[in-house]
């Protein structure tokens, strides 16, 4: 009985303490970022859909179409093909089809590649209304003037 009577002022005091906390938060600045008017910087290791890397000297894709990424992918997203051009020691990639609807961004392809030919992009603006927009053709997405002959 006594505990429940004492509970009333103690309980009321806890309400006032709570109200004071929310009032102090009221006067603090806003912590949300008004996206899309402002965007946040993307960290270096962010996992966006994969893209092919190029050799900075020649502009050619580094991929040698060894198909290790195709085998490592748990979700069968990747389809790679290449031809061996004359005078080259390794194959050059001619086709790299990437189905982003199945990708889980696990990073197996990036890690298993022997020549660092794949990396995660930082592209997060991926909304679309059709499924075909997510069947990426990574060779076509290479910078235009540096496409291999």
């Amino acid at each position: 009985m006594k505990a429940s009577i004492l509970d009333v002022p103690r309980g009321f005091w806890s309400l006032l303490v709570g109200m004071r906390i929310t009032l102090t938060q009221f006067f603090k600045p806003v912590i949300t970022v008004p996206y899309p008017h402002k965007t946040l910087p993307i960290p270096a290791r962010y996992r966006g859909p994969i893209e092919l890397t190029t050799d900075p000297a020649t502009g050619k894709a580094l991929c040698i179409a060894c198909k290790l990424c195709e085998r490592a992918c748990p979700s069968d997203c990747i389809l790679v093909d290449g031809v061996k051009l004359e005078g080259e020691k390794k194959k050059s990639v001619t086709e790299f089809k990437f189905d982003f609807t199945k990708c889980s961004l696990c990073g197996a392809c990036v890690e298993v590649c022997p020549c660092d030919a794949i990396r995660f992009s930082k592209n997060y603006n991926l909304a679309s209304t059709s499924r075909e927009d997510y069947l990426f053709d990574l060779v076509a997405r290479l910078p235009a003037e540096k496409k291999q002959p």
């Binding site: 309980g11 929310t22 912590i31 960290p43």
Partner: protein
């Protein structure tokens, strides 16, 4: 407060009706369906019907190589994905006798404990939204944002991490992470105190949770409930102390246990666990050794034939992975023993005779993640 035992058993009367807490709720539980047979306001039978997000992870385990199954582990319980990563990586390392460098073990502990804090913050804020207090959600997500930013800078993902690899980690942490984590720990302690003042000591919340949803230790043992549900019933069982894995035996931390067994006890267990996780992170940062983060792993991984298991203390309870291997690249069987499944199974017996809002408060206090139940 009407005790559940005072209600006479009236399931056989014609006046009961079925209320379907459908797979879609406004309350943030996920796709769980609970068929409640109600007598007016009182729940006479609450039958959970899981399966709406059954994605056959265990079957996928039989069709993928050991390394290809790793992304699946993060999707089973997306809120504490690193713990589930750890369990699968641990079982493979135990079976194939792969050495993990100490630096990798320490980083695994640090990131796992950060993940535990962020999971408990989501539970806390969603539970309070269920109870009608919307503001703490925003405060908790402010803290959680800092954790997610730290982990994003290291792993590249914000929620479904796939960071651990057999033998170590995917990539190493840098000084930015270390200073950021220390700053986070420093600013989190006063925030936990603020949460205590704002919510835990609040008379309205106390009246809402004290004495509600009693789960006795007997009931937990009967259904195999683990985690904060068990520790809120008075039993000090935590996998990190009972079967220490990784480097947890090197840290000094406590297991919060509260004997009352009601929703408030489970609540307090989780809030105290956040505090203890901060302690572990601090000690791990202090003891972090230098060195490589990847051990020697054979190029083509085949586990020797046999039965192996590994248990971790995930945010929701004891998570154990059991694999059966027949010396191939692909497992023969992957079994995921998930805590939410066992925690949910006691719901039918625990919620008998409760008034409906109390039954919902009990459901929230169990901290269920539905893909964890359905896998």
């Amino acid at each position: 407060m009407i005790a559940p035992t005072d209600i006479p058993d009236r399931t056989n009367l014609q006046e009961t009706f079925v209320l379907n807490l459908g797979p879609q709720h406004p309350a943030a539980h996920g796709v769980l369906r609970i068929k409640m047979t109600m007598d007016g306001e009182y729940v006479t039978r609450a039958e959970p019907i899981p399966g709406y997000i059954h994605r056959m992870h265990e079957k996928m385990g039989e069709n993928r190589t050991w390394a290809q199954f790793l992304p699946n582990t993060g999707r089973v319980d997306y809120l504490s994905a690193l713990h589930y990563n750890h369990a699968f990586v641990g079982v493979v390392e135990r079976a194939a006798r792969i050495e993990v460098p100490p630096r990798a073990e320490f980083i695994r502990v640090i990131t796992s404990e950060l993940n535990r804090i962020s999971s408990h913050l989501v539970w806390w804020s969603a539970y309070l939204v269920d109870l009608g207090g919307f503001t703490p959600l925003l405060y908790a997500f402010d803290d959680r944002e800092k954790i997610l930013d730290l982990l994003e800078a290291v792993t590249g993902s914000r929620l479904t991490y796939c960071y651990f690899r057999f033998g170590g980690l995917c990539n190493d942490i840098d000084d930015v992470f270390i200073t950021g984590t220390r700053a986070f720990v420093t600013q989190m302690r006063p925030r936990l105190k603020m949460y205590r003042d704002l919510v835990t000591d609040n008379i309205i919340l106390r009246k809402r949770l004290e004495g509600i949803g009693p789960i006795s230790a007997e009931l937990c043992r009967k259904y195999g409930a683990t985690g904060p549900v068990l520790r809120g019933a008075g039993i000090a069982y935590d996998v990190r102390k009972v079967e220490p894995y990784s480097v947890y035996s090197q840290f000094d931390f406590q297991i919060p246990v509260f004997p009352e067994g009601d929703a408030m006890a489970r609540y307090r267990v989780r809030m105290a666990e956040m505090e203890q996780s901060l302690r572990i992170i601090e000690q791990a940062l202090d003891k972090l050794p230098a060195g490589p983060v990847m051990g020697k792993v054979p190029r083509v991984l085949k586990l020797p034939a046999g039965d192996y298991c590994y248990a971790v203390e995930a945010a929701r309870g004891r998570h154990m992975v059991r694999v059966v291997s027949d010396n191939k690249e692909i497992p023969y069987r992957v079994k995921l023993r998930t805590p939410s499944f066992s925690n949910l199974s006691l719901y039918q017996e625990a919620s008998k005779g409760m008034i409906l809002p109390d039954a919902l408060a009990l459901l929230g206090s169990l901290d269920l993640v539905i893909p964890d139940i359905d896998r």
